[in-house]
């Protein structure tokens, strides 16, 4: 186990962590804007992944950027459709939040089974999107897949931050998340902002789906466990905190990868859970709470 191997693992952990972060960001943004735990987030991701793969089957020569874009747009469409046709209806009828959350699980069942009918039950192999071979960094060889995924993950999260901090729409989104009533009085259209939230989280989930697909496989159940991990990552970070969600995802990726290698691969999810429970016990609002406390 040389240093090279550790670096390889580290980049791999960051890449998978980026996938979790993107899903976790979706959870965090939706919970901030609507209070809903959106359990179908993983399925939104899966549908994006599948759609991007279908686009590749039709046009095998598509550049990776476009494939990614196809996945993102497909997920965003699914996400927006859910909000428009299901969650908005429920919200307008003033259905309690717990029922809306249960409905999101219902949507997730619908998506999983629709995907199974459309794409079948077999894991589908993704072609190597970002070229094969290795990149060398000062003597350390790393798969370009991982580097690209990590890079894209960070770029997307950076763009999101810029969007939220420096555009009118982004600021309005933040305002709605902080105080819906005041934001509405200031002229923000709540209903539209929710739609925008679902569109953005869909875009991010789609990107995560294409990344995860190109790392492993794409199949109809991929969303469930990834969605769960994204949700746990979002909670680990402190629900509703965007920085926390990103941090939570990456920390979760690191814990998972290094546990699998150094402690036990059978319990790689288990150690993460124990840490999660311990962290929540020490700081009931997650990592962000811990961070603020230590400052």
């Amino acid at each position: 186990m040389g240093q090279e191997y550790i670096w390889d693992l580290f980049v791999g952990a960051l890449a998978i962590g980026c996938v979790y972060s993107l899903v976790a960001l979706g959870f965090a943004m939706i919970i901030r804007a609507t209070g809903i735990i959106h359990f179908a987030q993983g399925e939104v991701m899966m549908l994006g992944s599948m759609s991007a793969l279908s686009a590749l089957w039709l046009l095998p020569k598509l550049p990776p950027g476009i494939v990614m874009l196809v996945g993102m747009v497909a997920s965003a469409i699914v996400s927006v459709a859910m909000e428009l046709f299901v969650y908005r209806t429920l919200r307008l009828r003033r259905i309690p939040i717990m029922n809306v959350i249960t409905a999101t699980v219902g949507m997730s069942i619908v998506c999983i089974n629709a995907a199974q009918i459309i794409w079948g039950s077999e894991p589908l192999r993704y072609p190597e999107l970002f070229g094969s071979g290795t990149y060398g960094f000062g003597g350390v060889r790393i798969s370009p897949q991982l580097v690209w995924i990590m890079g894209m993950g960070f770029v997307i999260m950076g763009v999101l931050q810029l969007f939220l901090k420096h555009t009118r729409l982004g600021l309005a989104l933040q305002a709605v998340a902080q105080d819906p009533d005041a934001a509405q009085l200031m002229g923000a259209n709540l209903t539209r902002m929710m739609l925008v939230t679902f569109a953005i989280t869909g875009l991010m989930a789609g990107a995560a789906g294409v990344m995860l697909g190109s790392l492993f496989f794409s199949f109809f159940q991929m969303g469930f466990i990834t969605g769960l991990k994204g949700f746990i990552a979002a909670t680990l970070g402190g629900l509703g905190s965007l920085g926390g969600a990103m941090l939570g995802g990456i920390v979760f990726g690191l814990i998972e990868t290094f546990t699998a290698v150094y402690i036990s691969s059978a319990y790689k999810d288990g150690i993460g859970m124990v840490l999660l429970i311990l962290i929540l016990l020490v700081s009931p609002t997650g990592l962000m709470g811990l961070w603020k406390k230590s400052k």
Binding site: I31, P96, G106, N113, I117, M273
Partner: protein, 347 residues
């Protein structure tokens, strides 16, 4: 003077009205009479599973519906109960009555370890219980020497009571129903007791409850442990009903199913938990005719039921009942010439 106010809280439980008694007896009689009319083994087996699952759902109703604590980990306690009972009867040769009690005790003992997390609220509690559920699943799957791992745990004997083996599915159905009824009545009594009122207060406003001197943390942990206990008992029944345990019966997904049962039936209603269980357990079977679209329709139906609001199926039935009553009274009033306005149905 302050002391007087404390004593003014009635310590007695709310009495049952005659109507409630009749309804409960009728309900129990119908359930117990089912084997007289239904002799198909598979159907009875499914009904037994409804009874078993409803025990867990009833416990979750206490935890979530009454005390407001969202748990996504009931499958863990269910699994602990099932495997405890399996181990005790096959490897150590204990009789079933001992095993079922031990299962409940084992599950509640494990839940005691988890009690510190009841100080977490809302989603954080849900996530920790979820994490715990995943952890228990991993143990069941990986500790092959104890649980048989992914190959499963086989050779669990049928239930035998006082030397008599329940071979007839009708008898095992009756056993499951009787235990489910006992849990139902026990929890209904608990709901009406001083404890139930205190728990209700905690759910509605934790700070106010604490300010009025209620031991909030203790009450919440008690609910947590009781829910785990009944889940353990249900697990034991399940083990002897299907006589084969695999870790996949106790995944996180199972916990979600239990939550479905409670929310679909109607949050806060014990009867709702039973109705919801019947919905979740029987509907996928009933939909077998449509083949691969079965779960698609099931998911869509869940979303549709959510439109009924927090009342779930029970609320829906109630509003249908109220509408019918309204129709009848309006007709009689129209005949008698009364022009009193109808009371608005409350939401």
């Amino acid at each position: 003077m302050e002391k007087e106010q404390v004593n003014a809280v009635p310590a007695l439980s709310t009495p049952w009205t005659t109507r409630e008694r009749v309804a409960a007896l009728g309900f129990a009689a119908i359930l117990l009479a089912v084997p007289l009319f239904e002799t198909r083994q598979f159907v009875l087996h499914m009904f037994s599973l409804v009874a078993i699952n409803s025990i867990v759902a009833l416990g979750l109703q206490l935890l979530f519906g009454f005390s407001g604590q969202l748990s996504l980990g009931q499958a863990a306690f269910y699994g602990i109960g099932a495997y405890t009972s399996g181990l005790l009867t096959t490897k150590l040769g204990f009789p079933f009555p001992v095993a079922i009690v031990a299962s409940g005790v084992a599950a509640s003992f494990v839940s005691l370890l988890m009690v510190p997390i009841t100080r977490l609220s809302g989603v954080y509690l849900a996530v920790s219980t979820l994490g715990f559920s995943i952890l228990v699943y991993l143990v069941l799957k990986n500790e092959e020497w104890l649980t048989g791992g992914t190959f499963g745990f086989i050779g669990i004997p049928r239930v035998s009571l006082f030397g008599y083996v329940l071979r007839n599915p009708a008898y095992s159905y009756l056993l499951c129903v009787c235990l489910a009824l006992a849990v139902y009545l026990g929890l209904a009594q608990l709901e009406r007791s001083r404890f139930g009122r205190a728990v209700n207060a905690v759910r509605q406003n934790e700070d106010a409850a604490r300010a009025s001197g209620l031991p909030v943390t203790l009450l919440k942990s008690q609910c947590f442990v009781i829910a785990a206990f009944v889940a353990g008992i249900a697990g034991s029944l399940f083990a002897h009903q299907v006589r084969y345990l695999a870790p996949d019966d106790f995944t996180f997904w199972k916990s979600i199913e239990f939550l479905f049962m409670v929310v679909i039936g109607g949050v806060g209603s014990l009867f709702g938990a039973v109705l919801g269980t019947a919905f979740v357990v029987l509907l996928p079977e009933a939909l077998r005719g449509i083949g691969q679209y079965r779960m698609l329709v099931f998911g869509a139906l869940i979303v549709i039921v959510m439109l009924f609001g927090a009342g779930g199926l029970v609320g829906f039935l109630r509003s249908v009942g109220a509408a019918l009553r309204g129709l009848i009274t309006r007709n009689t009033k129209a005949r008698s010439g009364a022009t009193l306005p109808r009371a608005a149905p409350h939401e």
